[in-house]
């Protein structure tokens, strides 16, 4: 990595496992990345690659009792979150690191009004007068462009549309003025025209508050639109990280390359899409070598024996593939 300037969050060799009756599921298996002030890092991968578990690990909200963080560091402005007590963590969540989840339906409590839920989020984090709290809650709604916030404060979640609810979730998430926002597929449940509105809103909030955003998604279209940098995850590990443009122009990990090629395009007709055959390996029974080896078009003997180290392939661009080894014979 170049400089430590503006680094808000640094994750070092994070490992989070699920202890199930079938064995140990290595959902997050040595993940490292940094997140700088005002930037958006896209964490891309398919279901089961560990991207959601990574997000949950950062705020230590793994599913109980199976999930456990077994190793690594999560440094928020230099402090290791994994070393904090549970009560110290409560002061971090919402206040310094917030989360927006996929389904606004389950993020809001159906029996409380929108106002109550925003006030609760605010009240927990700052001790303030009643009146100024209510004013700040309305301000929070106004910031996420919810019309008529005075009335909306008294509404219940079921009285709002999905897009509106997700805005409220966003309002709650940014109410505590966090430094880091983890957005886990926040627009998957929304329609495309509503998705575009929501993404524009997130960008706007980020521009104003300079918060660092970890955007978890499987959609390369969203990545292209939202992210400054991208990290591609496969079977519990990040296989490639780089600036968005560089990674889209010249992906250096065969998985990234194949995945991007298999996405149908809007522009220009394609006679036949290349597809990745097979399935990712089960996370409780991982091969010793590269986890993509079985599905890789360039697989060599070495790939099956040794997991490739992360190697630099360009400016702030790195990938974990033996093909990028400087001395490797070009294939």
């Amino acid at each position: 990595m170049d400089s430590a300037a503006g680094v808000v969050l640094e994750v070092r060799d994070l490992r989070a496992y699920l202890y199930t009756r079938w064995g140990v599921v290595r959902a997050v298996d040595g993940v490292s990345f940094v997140l700088r002030e005002g930037e958006t890092l896209g964490l891309v991968g398919e279901s089961g690659c560990g991207k959601t578990m990574t997000g949950l690990s950062l705020v230590r909200l793994l599913p109980e009792p199976a999930g456990r963080i077994v190793d690594g560091q999560v440094l928020l402005e230099g402090e290791d979150l994994l070393a904090k007590s549970e009560s110290e963590m409560r002061a971090v969540r919402g206040r310094r690191v917030s989360m927006i989840l996929q389904d606004p339906q389950t993020s809001l409590n159906p029996v409380f009004t929108i106002g109550d839920q925003i006030l609760e989020a605010l009240g927990q984090h700052h001790v303030d007068g009643e009146r100024s709290l209510a004013a700040r809650a309305q301000e929070a709604l106004r910031r996420v462009k919810v019309g008529a916030p005075e009335q909306r404060m008294r509404a219940y979640p079921h009285q709002m549309s999905g897009g509106m609810k997700q805005r409220v979730v966003g309002a709650i998430a940014v109410a505590g003025e966090p430094r880091v926002l983890i957005a886990d597929e926040p627009t998957t449940a929304l329609d495309v025209t509503i998705q575009l509105q929501y993404l524009a809103l997130l960008k706007e909030i980020q521009a104003r508050t300079r918060l660092a955003m970890l955007f978890i998604t499987h959609d390369f279209g969203i990545v292209a639109r939202m992210c400054d940098r991208v990290a591609v995850m496969y079977a519990g590990r990040i296989v490639e990280t780089g600036p968005t443009r560089a990674l889209f122009r010249a992906p250096r990990h065969p998985y990234t390359e194949a995945l991007m090629a298999s996405v149908p395009r809007l522009e220009g007709h394609v006679a036949r899409l290349p597809s990745i055959e097979g399935q990712p390996p089960p996370l409780h029974d991982l091969p010793p070598g590269c986890r993509f080896a079985d599905r890789c078009a360039y697989v060599a003997d070495r790939c099956r024996r040794e997991y490739p180290p992360t190697m630099p392939v360009g400016l702030a661009h790195e990938a974990a593939c033996w093909r990028n080894e400087p001395s490797a014979p070009s294939r």
């Binding site: 699920l18 199930t20 009756r21 599921v25 959902a27 089961g48 199976a66």
Partner: protein, 293 residues
């Protein structure tokens, strides 16, 4: 959690380990012993359950002072062997439970499936009947039935059937409503399946898990109802032994001959507990969501 679950589907993982280890062996053993004892009662029982021997009346259990090895659990007012009566009583409990659960459970299953699948007016009518049944005071209805039909095994079975079918119907209907919205039911209609086939092939097998759990969890309930009715004198007429009746008979001697009520009472408690624990285990075992971790 949802997406994590999706990934840990059994396809990749095969059968989970440790299922048998979690089987409630104690419950299982009690149930096995109960069934064996009931089936083999004539071979096991040391005495006839109805044979009276007034000279031996009110003998305490063998370990008490004055107890005899001939009557391990003592004798009652008429000198009948308590252990033998307990063994034969197990038969009554199991027969009543089996008959009532098959009849009540069966009716409940059918009503629940028809009600949930057809919906509309049929559903409204059947569910109002269920509500009506559930509002009756349980024991009172059974007593009324016993009075009008005369006491006996048949009466008890009918009374309990009337009591439990509605509970089954309501739970099964809820389950059917959930299954009905799954896409494979719509696809069955696209394939041209008749309503009867959809219910038989697509609905019933998918509510059977819930039904089985409901059955096991109700065995204990049925045994208690049978005991209560017998205790109140509306159950199995003497001299056929039944646990509830034994508790009732011993009531007046509780100060002098405690074993007459305590022994059958303990048997009821143990068996009901065993069935309930077994039912809980079965529910967890059959529910893949609970089997995850």
């Amino acid at each position: 959690m949802a997406r994590v679950e999706e990934r840990i589907d059994e396809s990749a993982l095969g059968r989970p380990r440790g299922d048998l280890a979690r089987l409630p062996w104690v419950s299982f053993a009690i149930i096995a012993v109960l069934v064996l004892v009931a089936v083999l009662a004539p071979l096991i029982a040391p005495h006839s359950p109805t044979e009276q021997s007034l000279p031996d009346k009110l003998l305490p259990p063998a370990w008490e002072a004055g107890g005899s090895a001939r009557h391990l659990l003592g004798t009652d007012v008429l000198g009948r062997d308590v252990l033998s009566r307990l063994i034969y009583g197990a038969r009554v409990s199991l027969i009543v439970a089996a008959v009532a659960l098959l009849a009540g459970g069966g009716i409940g299953l059918i009503v629940g499936i028809v009600s949930g699948y057809l919906g509309g007016r049929t559903d409204s009518f059947l569910m109002r009947s269920v509500d009506a049944t559930l509002t009756f005071p349980t024991i009172l209805i059974a007593l009324l039935l016993a009075v009008s039909l005369g006491p006996g095994l048949r009466t008890i079975a009918i009374a309990i059937t009337v009591l439990i079918w509605a509970r089954f119907a309501r739970v099964v209907r809820g389950e059917v409503l959930a299954v009905k919205t799954r896409d494979f039911v719509a696809l069955a209609r696209v394939h041209g399946c008749s309503h009867l086939r959809i219910m038989a092939v697509h609905i019933v097998p998918n509510v059977l898990n819930t039904f089985m759990v409901l059955l096991t969890l109700h065995i204990g309930f049925v045994i208690i109802v049978e005991a209560s009715l017998s205790f109140l004198g509306a159950g199995i007429p003497p001299p056929t032994p039944s646990w509830g009746q034994m508790v009732s008979d011993g009531r007046s001697h509780i100060a002098s001959a405690w074993w007459l009520s305590v022994v059958p009472g303990a048997a009821i408690m143990l068996v009901v507990l065993a069935f309930n624990l077994f039912g809980d285990w079965l529910r967890d075992w059959l529910d893949p969501r609970l089997r995850q971790v």
